[in-house]
Every structure is written in structure tokens, then in C-alpha cells.
């Protein structure tokens, strides 16, 4: 089976710096594969290991995406081929533009049985792109997938919702967003890292694709700022557990929250 797995390259959320004026700086940020997409990549690789075929990794984004370390990183995790749409016009792409660009790229990729995405991107975590992509392609589309199996041209999946787990049979090709606990992504091995440098990489720009409705954004970003900080009392309660417990209860009843 042929699987396309969509991953996003994001500024490492741990490197996001809040400036004293409340603005956010990404200047020092390392760009990494969005955490949750590692599970999607692993799921794709496991399915192909079990059923044969190939994994095509696909990502769209600004110039950081073309960095050789970033390319090797994703390929060292198991995909056979890498397809990128690299264009600074995608720097602050909204979910719609991202999904439309992915759809246009998918159209160039040829035959596939399944598209996998992560649960949500580590920077925006909108959990939208996969769903929008599936609808644009007119394919069966589901999120919250915690298990996928392939048999006889069909997908047997489990979908973990808040109150229930649905066991579904989904016709292929389909677009599925996997949960963060679907698997434990493996760490790349030495040999996979070495192999990664030799795998095929295809790079396009927006000009190479026919993106539906052009490049217009549907959401205008007005500002990105660090959240308001509340100053807390920060009182440390010392002593033996019993004394500390008494002291805490004393404080809380004074606060009127008991």
C-alpha cells in the first residue's frame, strides 16, 4: 500500500521566547518536526512494514523546510521518499491555505491508498489541516484514529472519541488523523540516518502547483503575544506533613475557598 504522511516543520515550542514587551520571538528557535506528526510517520512506516508498499512524506512550508538537516531528519524515520512545497509565501499560512496546498501537491503524487496526518501541529494545534485536506480531496476523512489496519483494500480503524471508541471500516483511499498515543515512535538508527541522505527528495514551489482559489488567506492574524501573567503570592509552607496540611487549611479558610 502507498501512504502519504503529512508532517509539519515547526519552531520548537521550547525555544519560543517571550520578550519583556509581550511580543514573541522565534529568532532563536530550532525548527523541528512537529511532535505529534512523529506518530503519524511511525504509523505509516509500520503499515508499510506490515503490508508492503512505500511511504511518501509530504510537507509544505517556508524555507526552513528545505534545510538539509530537516530533510534528513524526516527520512531517517522511515519514509521512502520526501515531497516538499517550499515557499516563503507559506510562512504564516492559515489552515485553509495549508490544506489547499497539500491537496494540490497530493494531486501530483500519483496513486495512494491512505493519507495520514498528526493529531495537531505543535505550534498551532488547530487539528484542522487533515480534516480540510480530506474534504478538499473528497475522500473519507476521520480524526482521533488510535488504530489502523489494512486488509483487502479497506481500512479497519478505531476512533477514540470522548465517550466511546468507534470501530469503523473505512473505504480507501482515506485521510486519517492519528492520536498521539497510537504508537511510540522509534528513534532513528545509525543506518537509517545514513540511508536518509540518499533517499529521493522532490521540491516544488507554489508556482509549480495549481492551488485551488489561489493563495488568499482566510484568516488574518492580528497579533501574537505572550499571555497575561498573574502575580501569585508564592508562599512556601514548611514543616512536617501534618503541620503543613494544617497550615494550608488555615490559609485556604482565610482565603474563603474551603
Amino acid at each position: 500500500m502507498n501512504i502519504i504522511v503529512c508532517y509539519k516543520l515547526v519552531p520548537d515550542p521550547e525555544d519560543v521566547v517571550a520578550k519583556p514587551d509581550g511580543s514573541i520571538s522565534l529568532d532563536q528557535a530550532e525548527w523541528i518536526i512537529s511532535d505529534y506528526d512523529l506518530m503519524a510517520i511511525e504509523a505509516a512506516v509500520q503499515l508499510v512494514e506490515a503490508n508492503g508498499g512505500k511511504v511518501m512524506a509530504l510537507s509544505v512550508g517556508p524555507s526552513q523546510l528545505a534545510n538539509s538537516k530537516a530533510k534528513k531528519d524526516v527520512l531517517s524515520r522511515g519514509p521512502d521518499e520526501l515531497y516538499l512545497v517550499v515557499d516563503d509565501g507559506l510562512r504564516d499560512a492559515d489552515t485553509s491555505l495549508t490544506a489547499r496546498t497539500l491537496a494540490a501537491a497530493v494531486a501530483k503524487l500519483g496513486e495512494f491508498d491512505l493519507i495520514l496526518t498528526g493529531e495537531g501541529s505543535a505550534d498551532l494545534y488547530f487539528q484542522q489541516v487533515g480534516m480540510q485536506l480530506g474534504e478538499l480531496l473528497g475522500l473519507p476523512t476521520f480524526n482521533a484514529i488510535s488504530k489502523v489496519e489494512w486488509s483487502g483494500g479497506k481500512l479497519a480503524v478505531e476512533r477514540s472519541l470522548e465517550d466511546e471508541v468507534e470501530a469503523l471500516e473505512v473505504p480507501a483511499p482515506a485521510v486519517l488523523a492519528v492520536t498521539t498515543d497510537i504508537n511510540q515512535p522509534r528513534l532513528p538508527s545509525m543506518k537509517e540516518i545514513l540511508k536518509a541522505g540518499k533517499k529521493p527528495v522532490v521540491e516544488w514551489t507554489l508556482g509549480d502547483l495549481a492551488v485551488q482559489d489561489g493563495l488568499a488567506q482566510r484568516v488574518e492574524v492580528l497579533s501574537v503575544r505572550s499571555p497575561k501573567q498573574v502575580n501569585r503570592k508564592q508562599i512556601r509552607i514548611e514543616g512536617k506533613p501534618e503541620e503543613a496540611a494544617q497550615a494550608l487549611i488555615g490559609h485556604l479558610s482565610k482565603e474563603g475557598v474551603l
Binding site: 538539509s68 538537516k69 528513534l187 532513528p188 538508527s189 545509525m190 543506518k191 540516518i193 545514513l194 541522505g197
Partner: protein, 430 residues
């Protein structure tokens, strides 16, 4: 048949990346394995690089490399608890290229050198920790990481101060605590203008301080403070055995150091960006292992190549020099297709001829000299007492210098004999 490479280098610090660059330049198949997510991710230095050797490897490196500032001012500070005494040396010659010394941040700099090696054709393998050297018939034939192994004609250990690869193969014994120091460093962020104003710098000029005295709470060692573009690197290097003996905690000493009247105003208002601690080999020549065995070479800190004379901590330039020398030796061995210790012997020879070993020899006495307690208490006290007498106007008539010096010496509980001996030793070993 399993794939075999020409060379596997373990550790993408400066020694490893320099070796990889040189070998890849000559078209060898080089694998450079680094445990961090990228070269330099975990590496720590005070950050002043004496750049001549790098300029030989990559001419005009400063145009391309992420250097912070070129060092035009070298300062030595003697400090007591309350006071300090600076010797300030500025030479415009230092602002001419190739720069004598530049300040760097390893996170960026090592990464750059690693990328240079990759561009030259080396295969960088990040995120992999090598567990051991693969030995067959007493000859190094590869490395093992997790459940994988990988083979090559030559293994270059460039895995830093606590190189257990060199230990595993028996090229070096366990480093004695007496041969190791602990370096701690904080990186403190400040706006560029503030730094330039505070240190009286123009453009990309920089200052390097070596600090002797109270800084280390009496533990043998020294402090440093270097300017970067928008940050200051400040830290201490302290002898490990004395840290263990006295129970002094590096993290606490560095807090004292940062609060010292000499340091505090220089970093005031800064933001702590990074804190790190790392071993520094300090035994000098005495701790150096054999540098080669069949199929394997040891470079950089792993080979104990560093110099600390109290005023300058150096290791990065020696690491690069040894990496390049190791690469040249492999190139020679490759011509003869002989990767035995004999075939690789050019490494020792090149090292012996290089400034690196010359400096190691010059400073052979430095570690012992550094362990002289007087250096940390009595001398700084004496100097400060002397300066206090000279400058402190308490209404009493000023004495001539000689009696003042004698008084200072007396107050600092130093004997004239100590002075004479230390003076001689110091002159010989520094």
C-alpha cells in the same frame, strides 16, 4: 557484505568536525557520529578561540563562521572578597585579521563547523550515542551504538573530556580526579549597546577576562568572563579533587562569583540564558594518553589536550589542531593502506611538531603551579592590600613603594621565600 567506511569519527565537537572536514575534503568516506541532536547542542566552553589553526584549515573562516566578537582586550583580574585589581591589555594588532582570538558560542559554532564538514562530504549522524569501540584481534574495527554496529578502517575518538572510548580500548586509564577540573558557565544575555558601553568596545571588539583569587572560594582554579555580541559568558574552572575534598559546590561558587563587586556590575540587568557544567582535562602532559593504536586515534579533550594557566583556558584550538593532525595521519596511512598504530604514527609526529604539543610542554608545569594555594588567597590579597595602600588616602603620609610592598606581604602571611619560589616557578611554567 556489510558496508565499511574509511573513517568513523565519534563526537562532532571541534576536534571531530575538524578531522571530518579535512578527510572529506580529500574524498574519504567519513561518518561523523554525534550524540546530541546537532553538533554543539551540548558542548560548553568559555568561548575564546585562538583562531590561527582554524584559519589554516578554513582560510578566512571569520567571514563565514558565526563568531561573536574578536578579542582586543585581554584582562587579568586578581580578586579578594571585597576588591579587585585588573591588568588591562589592549592591542590594536588584535583587531587585524586573521584575528588572534575570537569569542564563540559553541551551540552555533560547532554546528557551523559540522555543516562545513557535511558540505565537504562527511556524513553526519546526529542523535546517536556510541557505546563502545568494536575490537577484533586487538584492533579497532568499528563502533557499536545500541544494537547496531558500523565498521571503518580507522576510528577517531573525539568524544571529549570524559572519553570512555579511549578508556575502553586502554589508550588511557581512568583520569584521576587530580587531572580533571570542572568548568561551570553561565551565559547572560544583555543588549548589544549595553555590552559595548560597559566594556568600552566599538563594533565587534571584545574583552576576555581571566580571574584569579577569591572567585573559587579557595579551590584551585580560575574564573573567566568573555563578551559575545549580545551576551556575556562567565564562569569558573575548578580542580575536581579539591572540589571533592572541600565539598564546595560549583553551582554555589558561581553564584558568589556573579555577585562579586568586580563581576556584578558587568552583568547587571542581564538575563540568564544558559547554565552548564563540563569536565576539563587539566593534567597537562602528565595525563596525556597514548594517541594511537591499531585502527584508532584519540583527539582533543579525549586526549587530554588542554591548557589552563589561570589566565587562559584553552582547548578548542588544540582540539582543532589535533583533529587536523589525525586526519593528515589517516590520509598518509590510506596511501600505504596500513592502518596499524605504525601506519598511523604520523599523528604523534605531527602533534609533536605542532604548536599544540609545544604549548602543552611549555605549560607542563602549569597544573602543579596552579595547585599552589597561595595563588588563590595570598597573592590576590597582597596585591589588593598594596593597591589599597597606594590609593587609600587616609591622611597619613604616603610611604615609598618598597615598605608598602613589604607591609602587604606581611599582612598576606606570605614569606619572602614563598614569593621567590613561586616567582621562579611561575616564570618557568606560564
Amino acid at each position: 557484505m556489510e558496508e565499511k567506511f574509511d573513517v568513523i569519527i565519534v563526537g562532532a565537537g571541534l576536534a571531530g568536525s575538524a578531522a571530518a572536514y579535512r578527510l572529506a575534503q580529500e574524498g574519504l568516506e567519513v561518518v561523523l557520529i554525534e550524540r546530541g541532536p546537532y553538533p554543539g547542542a551540548k558542548n560548553l566552553s568559555g568561548g575564546v578561540l585562538y583562531g590561527r589553526v582554524l584559519n589554516d584549515l578554513i582560510p578566512e573562516y571569520w567571514k563565514d563562521a558565526p563568531i561573536e566578537r574578536y578579542i582586543t582586550n585581554q584582562r587579568v583580574a586578581f580578586i579578594t572578597e571585597q576588591a579587585f585589581f585588573n591588568i588591562d591589555f589592549k592591542n590594536q594588532v588584535f583587531s587585524q585579521t586573521p584575528y588572534n582570538a575570537v569569542s564563540v558560542l559553541r551551540g552555533k559554532f560547532d554546528r557551523w563547523l559540522g555543516e562545513k564538514a557535511e558540505e565537504a562530504g562527511a556524513m553526519l549522524v546526529p542523535g546517536i550515542r556510541v557505546d563502545k569501540v568494536l575490537i577484533e584481534d586487538r584492533r579497532a574495527v568499528g563502533v557499536v551504538a545500541g544494537d547496531e554496529d558500523m565498521r571503518a578502517d580507522v576510528i577517531i575518538a573525539a568524544d571529549g573530556a570524559n572519553s570512555f572510548l579511549a578508556q575502553q580500548v586502554g589508550l588511557r586509564g581512568r583520569f584521576e580526579t587530580g587531572h580533571l577540573a570542572v568548568g561551570v558557565k553561565e551565559l547572560i544575555g544583555l543588549p548589544r549597546e549595553t555590552i559595548e558601553e560597559r566594556f568600552n568596545l566599538t563594533g565587534d571588539e571584545g574583552v576576555a577576562y581571566g580571574v584569579v583569587g577569591f572567585a573559587t572560594r579557595g579551590v584551585a582554579g580560575g574564573g573567566f568572563l568573555y563578551t559575545n555580541k549580545e551576551s556575556i559568558s562567565v564562569g569558573l574552572v575548578m580542580h575536581l579533587d579539591e572540589l571533592i575534598e572541600t565539598g564546595v559546590k560549583p553551582a554555589e561558587v558561581i553564584e558568589d562569583f556573579l555577585a562579586h563587586p568586580m563581576v556584578a556590575p558587568l552583568i547587571r540587568g542581564g538575563k540568564l540564558l544558559e547554565y552548564g557544567a563540563h569536565l576539563v582535562p587539566e593534567g597537562g602532559l602528565a595525563m596525556m594518553p597514548r594517541l594511537a593504536m591499531d585502527g584508532m586515534l584519540v583527539t582533543g579533550d579525549a586526549a587530554g589536550l588542554s591548557v589552563n594557566n589561570g589566565f587562559v583556558v584553552r582547548g578548542m584550538d588544540l582540539a582543532i589542531a589535533s583533529g587536523v593532525a589525525a586526519a593528515e595521519a589517516v590520509l598518509e596511512a590510506k596511501k600505504k593502506n596500513d592502518f596499524s598504530a605504525q601506519g598511523l604514527s604520523a599523528y604523534q609526529r605531527l602533534m609533536d611538531e605542532s604548536f599544540a604539543m609545544k604549548d602543552m610542554r611549555t605549560y607542563a608545569g602549569a597544573p602543579a603551579f596552579m595547585k599552589n594555594d597561595r595563588l588563590y588567597e595570598a597573592y590576590p590579597e597582597m596585591l589588593v592590600s598594596l593597591m589599597t595602600q597606594i590609593y587609600h588616602h587616609d591622611g597619613a603620609p604616603k610611604q615609598h613603594l618598597v615598605p608598602m610592598v613589604m607591609k602587604s606581604i606581611k599582612e598576606s602571611k606570605l614569606s619572602l621565600f614563598d614569593l621567590a619560589v613561586d616567582g621562579l616557578k611561575g616564570a618557568r611554567s606560564l
